[in-house]
Symmetry: C2
Subunit: 112 residues, 2 copies
DNA sequence: GCCATATTCAACCTACAAGTTGATTAACCG
DNA sequence: CGGTTAATCAACTTGTAGGTTGAATATGGC
């Protein structure tokens, strides 16, 4: 699977996005990460593996703990990809701006 | 499925991203979209349905054709979500602001 | 009305994603 | 050493994603 697909696919799960949000607050062990979720530890472990394969997290080793930390590089790649489409919503925004400007002119301008 | 998951999931397929890239060049019918791909028309039709459910495209009706057009709004939402993580790569790549501004200015079409 | 074209619907196959439970590995602690 | 805790591995189930082929629907041209 290509890299971008891997990352998008990893992000397509709300549990995994929640894990990333948790890691944005700092490193955490598997048990700490799993604590808020109503699923088994093993399921969380699998999610972490998916995130790791996508390059979104990396893990250290400290005694029997495997602390996870966020790795945002793939998110930057996604941002780059999306940036290529920015004009398609910017454009509308600009058009709206132009439209509003036009409305305003029409209102303030005396009739012809 | 929540909206963001739906969009990420839709983007997690290279064929679908290629379809978006094609539509970035302008509206197209199903046959026109399907032409470059080595898969059946029906498979492409399914991809289009996925993109439509995610809000990434919308379709008109002209005679027996169903012209598809890009709808970038969900991409903006993804960009917003990712923006919340920008600080995690900004610190490492401090020239990124300039880089993004450059991308934004760039009018070349997106590629897959 | 009939035929060709564009697209979708339906049934089916295969692979894999996400969850489960139970067993296993690895490190620390008394 | 034996027990406890952290995490992973393995096997299994279930649902769904992405592909196929074949039939059905809708529209325009003659």
């Amino acid at each position: 699977m290509d890299r971008l697909s891997e990352v998008f696919s990893a992000l397509a799960d709300p549990t995994r996005r929640a894990i990333l949000a948790r890691l944005a607050e700092g490193e955490a062990t598997v048990n700490q990460i799993a604590e808020p979720f109503p699923i088994s530890l093993q399921a969380v472990s699998k999610h972490l593996k998916v995130l790791e394969r996508a390059g979104l997290i990396s893990r250290g080793r400290e005694a029997q703990w495997r602390p996870c930390r966020l790795d945002a590089e793939p998110l930057r790649e996604v941002a780059d990809w999306i940036a290529g489409y920015q004009r398609f919503w910017k454009q509308r925004y600009d058009q709206l701006g132009e439209y509003l400007r036009q409305l305003q002119k029409d209102e303030t301008r005396p009739e012809e």
